[in-house]
């Protein structure tokens, strides 16, 4: 074999994905495709009332239905505690957790009140229709800004108020040249993956192991949580990830249904399968985003921010789910974004309403806070009489300030922005978009009567949530490299990216690397796939482990097999070669693995196996950043918005696979367009959800999507990890609401006109009508 003289690079290359082949062939294994012999199907009976006392639940008719095996109400799961949230420093949230089946009261339409188990999914649905639930209605709360009501006797619907503060806010407002003040609303919407939730549990009595299939996002923490709730030891519970049809923050958390299938599988001794339908998904899977902000900014004569003072109301829905108050907390922490803010005060009212419980959705707290702070920057520009671009330039943090510590607590440590050159990216973005010429073109078109305008927004992201992640790398005797990680995959390309890092570091082709994820039976720990953390955390751990395997392989080849100095050797395409004569005889990793079988390794006093563990620890997150610019045209008749051009720029530190990063940016940008223009969970005055089909909850289609240009830069690698990586999973969504609002304002010639997302045609039409009545 003629080994190539130099190692192939894999980091930084847009190679095609390892995941794709089975997926384009229809061989994906999503939750609905997982079945076990003799399984039962579970169907949830959900509350039709937003708030009320449970008077009675009559299950007799359901039990008499063909194929019906059992019906459970809260009494049947009385020993199961409510679902816990992650550890948090915020006190007093425990009483507001959700039980897996409603006890005494229901608090949102869609809340599980009973479950039916039957031999077939159709029979389960038929039987569930026969469960008669009698509810005595109570008053509903649908607006987080109205006075708190009663959650239960002695407890109101405001679990906590989060306060953040630094600097002399009062003094800054006293000294300010002027003050801008805004009232801003972000609508209730969510991730809405194309695959609904699914959970299949079975108990293997021979080993006394409970298995949950269809898990994702956080398999290990969820294993521990399920074990605790069901009174089992963690090692007797295993979670298995299959293919996942999109995560976006909502999929893979522990919901009532996950616990119920496990409890039923244990009690019945039969596998139990739950597949959510779309109507359920839209009213039972986590909602997100809904907030109303009353924000003031004190500025000097040049439009520089002296202080921010924000009070906002976070609409959590009916219960506190697995994230606790972290979305409100994160919003309160991230509000200052990429800007110099000397004084800061945020008061966040975290309140419950009679709607579907809320939690994280891609870029949680940042989509919201970026909309708010960027609206503020546009308002500052108008107030100070300066250009919107200039307003940002004057307030952005500079390279001299990096790393920049903001005196706010984030996940228990101070918020430290690791690196960034914001002005550079801003310049590159405007240059690429042709911003200056664009302003002249738009002015001409507006003069000719068109409602066209451009928007601009800058944003700070965060990524690589720690504190720790580990992998184990094993080279088998066939030369295939396996990376076992506690990370998960929600469709973003984890297997490819981790394989690239491993391949690049070790010296093999990335196609020889198999990445195993989402299985608690293969590795003891892991934090999963969320918060744009996998490439940063698992990637770094993979790099560390691959270096160890490489060192081990070179050491053995040098001493036992090639009679050479280690420094004279390299690993190229899975073979150890001499650097100076790559065509001379070489040794494959498979041969080295074979020489390290248990017997031969131990005989030579070595650890068996060509394998190594790698652990990466990091207390701080890596902060990517970006800018969005867009051109929109408004139709005055319909209130419709057409996006003519869009540029999303992003500095990711180091892009392991630029094609996949761009895929994340474009995909999340379009997802953000939904929340900016179309998607909203609307309720009527009784608390009945009105968006429970895709005819009412509108996802962006191919026709709604503008040509999206992407500028991916690598100017500010993170100093926090060995490869300089920052995360990209939430890269494109954060500024979409902000930039669309900015562009619409510009198009209709009225700064600050857009105060509410989504900007539906009805809302924009109303704005245009007000504009006619009181021209600016």
């Amino acid at each position: 074999m003629n080994a190539p003289a130099t190692r192939q690079k894999f980091i930084g290359r847009s190679v095609t994905r390892l995941e794709d082949l089975p997926l384009v062939q229809g061989r994906g294994r999503y939750a609905a495709s997982i079945s076990f012999p003799h399984q039962l199907h579970m169907r949830v009976v959900r509350s039709a009332h937003a708030h009320g006392k449970i008077v009675s639940i009559d299950t007799a008719a359901a039990l008499a239905m063909p194929g019906c095996f059992a019906v459970w109400t809260a009494a049947d799961v009385a020993a199961i505690p409510p679902i816990e949230f992650r550890p948090t420093h915020i006190k007093g949230l425990e009483p507001y957790r959700q039980y897996v089946l409603a006890r005494e009261r229901v608090r949102y339409v869609g809340e599980p009140v009973a479950v039916v188990f039957a031999e077939d999914a159709y029979q389960a649905e038929d039987a569930a229709d026969q469960v008669v639930v009698e509810i005595a209605e109570l008053p509903v709360i649908l607006d987080a800004e109205q006075l708190p009501g009663e959650f239960e006797p002695g407890r109101d619907t405001e679990p906590t108020v989060i306060r953040k503060k630094f600097g002399d806010v009062e003094g800054a407002f006293r000294e300010a040249q002027s003050v801008v003040e805004l009232d801003l609303i972000i609508g209730r919407h969510s991730g809405v993956p194309m695959e609904t939730r699914g959970a299949i549990a079975r108990h293997d009595a021979t080993r006394d192991v409970l298995e949950l299939h269809g898990a994702t996002k956080r398999p290990h923490p969820n294993r521990d949580l399920l074990a605790k709730m069901l009174g089992r030891s963690p090692s007797s519970v295993h979670l298995y990830e299959c293919h996942i049809g999109g995560g976006f923050g909502v999929r893979g958390e522990i919901y009532p249904e996950d616990v119920l299938v496990c409890a039923a599988a244990l009690r019945f001794g039969r596998p139990v399968k739950f597949i959510e339908d779309r109507r359920e998904n839209l009213m039972a899977c986590n909602h997100s985003r809904q907030q109303r902000h009353h924000i003031r900014a004190a500025i000097d004569a040049d439009g520089r921010i002296l202080a921010l003072d924000d009070e906002f109301f976070h609409d959590q829905g009916a219960y506190i789910r697995t994230h606790g108050a972290s979305v409100a907390d994160g919003t309160a922490t991230m509000l200052a974004g990429p800007y110099n803010v000397p004084a800061y005060r945020v008061v966040a009212h975290y309140r419950l309403t009679n709607k579907t419980p809320a939690a994280t959705y891609r870029s949680p707290g940042r989509f919201e806070s970026t909309f708010v702070i960027e609206r503020v920057l546009d308002a500052i520009a108008a107030k100070a009489g300066i250009d919107r671009v200039e307003a940002r330039r004057r307030n952005l943090l500079t390279t001299r300030q990096m790393p920049y510590t903001r005196p706010l607590d984030l996940h228990g440590s101070a918020m430290m922005i690791d690196s960034g050159d914001y002005a550079l990216l801003f310049d590159k973005t405007l240059e690429r978009f042709g911003w200056a010429q664009l302003q002249r073109d738009l002015a001409q078109r507006r003069a000719a009567g068109e409602l066209v305008g451009a928007g601009v927004a800058f944003f700070l992201e965060k990524s690589g949530l720690g504190p720790v992640e580990g992998v184990r790398i094993i080279v088998d005797t066939g030369g295939t490299v396996e990376v076992v990680t506690g990370a998960a995959s929600v469709g973003q390309g984890v297997e490819t990216v981790i394989a690239q890092i491993c391949a690049d570091t070790l010296g093999v082709d990335y196609r020889r690397v198999r990445v195993t994820h989402g299985r608690t039976d293969r590795i003891d720990y892991g934090t999963g796939a969320h918060a744009a953390r996998v490439t940063v955390m698992t990637g770094s751990a993979t790099h560390i482990a691959a270096l160890k395997v490489r060192a081990k392989a070179l050491e053995i080849a040098a001493s036992d097999m090639m009679e050479a100095e280690i420094d004279a050797l390299d690993i190229v395409d899975g073979r150890v070669v001499r650097k100076d004569s790559p065509d001379s005889p070489s040794v494959s990793l498979a041969q080295i693995a074979a020489a390290l079988t248990a017997a031969s390794a131990v005989a030579k006093g070595r650890e068996p196996g060509l394998s190594a563990d790698g652990v990466f620890h990091c207390e701080h997150e890596a902060y990517p950043y970006g800018a969005h610019v867009a051109v929109v045209k408004v139709d005055a008749e319909t209130g419709g918005v057409k996006i003519e051009r869009y540029l999303a720029s992003y500095d990711i530190g180091v892009a392991v696979n630029p094609m996949l990063v761009e895929g994340q940016i474009v995909g999340s940008m379009v997802q953000g367009l939904g929340g900016a223009l179309f998607e909203e969970f609307v309720y009527d005055e009784s608390g009945t959800p009105l968006a429970v089909t895709f005819a009412d909850y509108l996802l962006p289609t191919a026709l709604d999507v503008p040509p999206v240009d992407v500028l991916l830069t690598q100017d500010a690698p993170s100093p926090l990890n060995p490869l300089g990586i920052k995360g990209g999973g939430e890269s494109g969504i954060t500024a979409v609401g902000a930039v669309i609002a900015s562009a619409i304002d510009d198009a209709i010639g009225r700064a600050g006109a857009v105060t509410q997302l989504p900007v539906t045609p009805q809302r924009l039409h109303a704005i245009l009508k007000r504009r006619q009545q009181s021209p600016q």
Partner: protein
């Protein structure tokens, strides 16, 4: 509900004799009775198009049809798109152009595109975008799906001339 009936479904050139309730949807029947789980059900009310299959060459929503309605028709699903190990140009183009992420909507998009390109190999970009807007994807933002289908269309047309 009972009264199951025996039907014969022709899927990807193979006959499947199955017994179904008249109310059983085509997508459930393909998945559970025929063992063809490549067709995914995304919304079960005909909007998302994840379950798109070809019925006598025409793209249809398998969640909006009953299995009994497909008797005597030719069905083609994602499992029948490749010829053995040789991928259809659309499948290869989706890989080459990163036209998928989670992959859940992919079989529906591939069958939709296959059905359209077979009837309209010369379809222009605007019409293609219009047609593909009938299916939903939550990951890709459609950019690379459009790019992939366009590339496959060009290749397929080139191969014929």
């Amino acid at each position: 509900m009972s009264g199951e009936i025996d039907i014969n479904l022709n899927v990807n050139g193979r006959n499947h004799a199955v017994r179904v309730e008249p109310r059983r949807t085509l997508v459930d029947t393909l998945r559970e009775q025929c063992g063809l789980t490549g067709t995914n059900a995304g919304c079960e009310h005909g909007v998302c198009g994840a379950c798109t299959v070809l019925l006598d060459g025409e793209p249809v929503r398998a969640c909006l049809m009953f299995a009994v309605q497909a008797q005597g028709r030719r069905l083609r699903t994602i499992e029948g798109l490749a010829e053995g190990d040789k991928l259809h140009p659309l499948q290869q183009a989706f890989i080459d152009h990163h036209g998928l992420q989670c992959g859940f909507c992919t079989p529906g998009f591939l069958m939709l595109a296959a059905g359209v390109l077979e009837r309209r190999p010369d379809i222009n970009d605007d019409d293609l975008r219009e047609v593909l807007s009938s299916n939903l994807c939550r990951c890709t933002g459609y950019k690379n799906i459009l790019k992939a289908v366009r590339a496959a269309a060009d290749q397929m047309r080139g191969a014929k001339t």
